[in-house]
């Protein structure tokens, strides 16, 4: 009996060692938090939330209560509802601009690394020229003049600014695999260039792309927050996390809740994204030595 018990213990131990490649509880907590955020943002209209624009003059700068979970702002608007609706701006900006950045940057980066030669040289120099502009200053300058400001314009400006960054990361990642024998091997089996790019290179680059995408979304959310804080994001009264923090600036002593909740929401959102991205990167980093 005892020996069989020992054996089962051993097996358990062995499984645990194998679990070294598991993602961990914290990872799933982060995924859960992001999923919750996304769901709330998508379903904000159907959820039993107060209208984020409705002003309640009986409760101005009220603290958290059962009626207003996060309290109200200086115009009597419900902060909880504004945080939820505000997440839409951040998430749309983050995902939208990354769709542009990856949609253009990733294929170009892969193609440049695979084809090399003149195509690669010209494109890389071009990207580095764009990269040499300080992105945030360029974004602020463009958004200051391109009025009226809409979320779409913000997404386009940030998305275009992200193209060279994505290009550089994907190009480097592709270069590392494009020179390996299996690419030549696929070629001499008669595989077309498209097939090599999609079947041979893409699966190797995808893990890096996914983690960079997540961290990219996080960066854009921060950037949108900064723009909003400078009054360069979506116009009030539309709520966004950055807008709300900006509004709280003058009444910080009077109503700290208005600064706290959107900041906390943004902070946890970014933390989750960064943690997931980082965890995935180490998870996919399968080198011979670790097996």
């Amino acid at each position: 009996m005892s020996s069989s018990l020992e054996l089962s213990e051993l097996v358990e131990e062995a499984t645990e060692t194998a679990d070294g490649r598991r993602l961990g509880v914290l990872f799933w907590v982060c995924v859960g938090w992001l999923a919750l955020n996304l769901l709330a943002a998508i379903l904000a209209n159907v959820l039993p939330l107060e209208n984020p624009l409705t002003q309640n003059y009986n409760a101005i700068n009220a603290g958290p209560s059962l009626h207003h979970l996060f309290g109200t702002d200086d115009l009597g608007r419900d902060i909880f509802s504004r945080v939820v609706f505000g997440s839409r701006v951040s998430i749309e900006a983050g995902l939208g601009s990354m769709v542009i950045g990856f949609g253009v940057g990733a294929p170009l980066g892969m193609l440049a690394a695979y084809r090399r030669g003149r195509f690669d040289q010209v494109l890389t120099v071009l990207m580095y020229v764009v990269l040499a502009f300080p992105a945030i200053i360029a974004t602020i300058a463009i958004l200051s003049f391109w009025t009226p400001r809409t979320l779409l314009k913000i997404i386009v400006v940030i998305g275009v600014a992200a193209i060279p960054l994505v290009y550089r990361v994907i190009r480097t990642a592709t270069l590392a695999v494009a020179t390996q024998d299996f690419v030549v091997a696929a070629k001499v089996q008669g595989a077309s260039d498209t097939r090599i790019l999609v079947r041979e290179l893409l699966p190797n680059v995808a893990p890096i792309a996914v983690s960079f995408l997540l961290i990219g979304v996080a960066t854009v959310v921060t950037l949108e927050g900064s723009l909003a804080f400078l009054g360069l994001s979506v116009a009030p009264p539309t709520p966004s996390w950055g807008n709300m923090i900006n509004e709280s600036r003058t009444i910080l002593q009077l109503n700290p809740w208005l600064a706290l909740f959107p900041s906390a929401a943004m902070c946890l959102f970014l933390l989750s994204l960064n943690f997931i991205g980082d965890r995935l990167r180490t998870h996919f980093d399968v080198s011979e030595g670790k097996l």
Binding site: D181, F182, V184, A185, K187, Q189, G190, R199, E288
Partner: protein, 332 residues
């Protein structure tokens, strides 16, 4: 030599433009390869074997390389052919087994899928047929539990298994010519023999022609019918394997033979090494490239480049002013 010629290589010269100048990696190499015949290409590192095999495949880096001469595969010219034209040859007429099975398989694609590639794209099989054929190929190259291995990733296979998979991939398109470029360099000695025997076996069974590129004369001794000995990008001796082993005339060939260990040697025999180093291809001597390392070299060797001349036996050629008198040494 076989009456039916599959591959005709004529005066093939491959040069690289490097920052230090023009480098001739393969210099006016000519040979024929008959159908069902196997040819060994031997030489030290840097003698141009790998560049030669890539040139025959029509594989060149895109810049700074120029190839002259002619490589006729089944009557189709490879030198200067477009990528599309070469893609028609690759896989079905000619296939290649690479040096290092660690890098010649895609680490994130199941091995079966990597065999499917040729079957589905080039031969137009449907998914089920391709899978069945891939498993058949895995069985043919001696992989146990082939149906399970189909879904395995390369990292879960040993080096020898991986090289078997690489061979299965090469065989998938039923090529007429198989080019094996040092197929056993990355493997254990015991596995080396298995892989070479496997190549030998499938070559005979499928009636392919094979070019076996190696630095190890022991590898080609029993597995090829003819040999090409290369030095500094040039062919220095060629003939049937038997003739080259028993009646070699070129001192370099002898030096190569003497530098492989023999079981018949008494124990603690020092292994003969070839003195000096292979020449710098950017700065070749005016005469015979081997002269600086050759015990028989004369002033003529240092100033004049020897050309290939017949040695007596049919098909046996050598390039040397001071050939070894025959018979020398004993076949390994």
């Amino acid at each position: 030599m076989s009456d039916e010629t599959l591959l005709r290589v004529r005066e093939v010269t491959t040069t690289f433009d490097t920052p230090q100048g023009r480098l001739t990696a393969v210099d006016a190499v000519s040979f024929d390869l008959g159908a069902h015949e196997s040819l060994g290409v031997v030489g030290e590192s840097g003698s141009g074997k790998t560049v030669l095999s890539r040139t025959i495949m029509g594989l060149q880096p895109r810049r700074g390389v120029s190839v002259t001469g002619s490589v006729l595969l089944n009557g189709i010219e490879v030198v200067g052919a477009t990528e599309e034209a070469k893609r028609e040859l690759w896989g079905r007429q000619v296939a290649m087994v690479f040096q290092d099975p660690m890098t010649s398989l895609n680490p994130v694609v199941k091995v079966g899928k990597q065999i499917d590639e040729v079957l589905r794209v080039r031969l137009g099989m449907d998914r089920a047929a391709a899978r069945a054929r891939a498993i058949e190929l895995l069985e043919m190259v001696g992989i146990p539990a082939a149906a399970t291995r189909y879904d395995a990733y390369p990292h879960s296979l040993s080096g020898g298994m991986r090289q078997r998979v690489v061979i299965a991939i090469a065989l998938a398109g039923s090529p007429q010519l198989l080019l094996a470029d040092e197929p056993t360099t990355g493997l254990d000695v015991t596995i080396q023999a298995q892989i070479l025997n496997l190549l030998d076996e499938v070559q005979g069974r499928l009636g392919m022609s094979m070019i076996l590129v190696t630095h190890d004369l022991g590898v080609v001794a029993t597995r090829t019918s003819r040999l090409v000995v290369m030095y500094a990008g040039r062919v220095v001796e060629t003939g049937t394997t038997r003739d080259v082993f028993a009646r070699h005339r070129m001192p370099y060939t002898r030096a190569l033979l003497e530098s492989s260990p023999k079981v018949s040697n008494p124990s603690h025999t020092r292994l003969a090494a070839i003195p000096g180093r292979p020449p710098n291809l950017l700065d070749l001597p005016a005469g015979c490239a081997f002269a600086p390392r050759c015990a028989y070299a004369t002033d003529r060797c240092r100033n004049e480049r020897p050309v290939l001349e017949p040695a007596g036996e049919p098909g046996h050629l050598f390039a040397c002013f001071n050939p070894l008198s025959e018979p020398v040494g004993s076949p390994t």
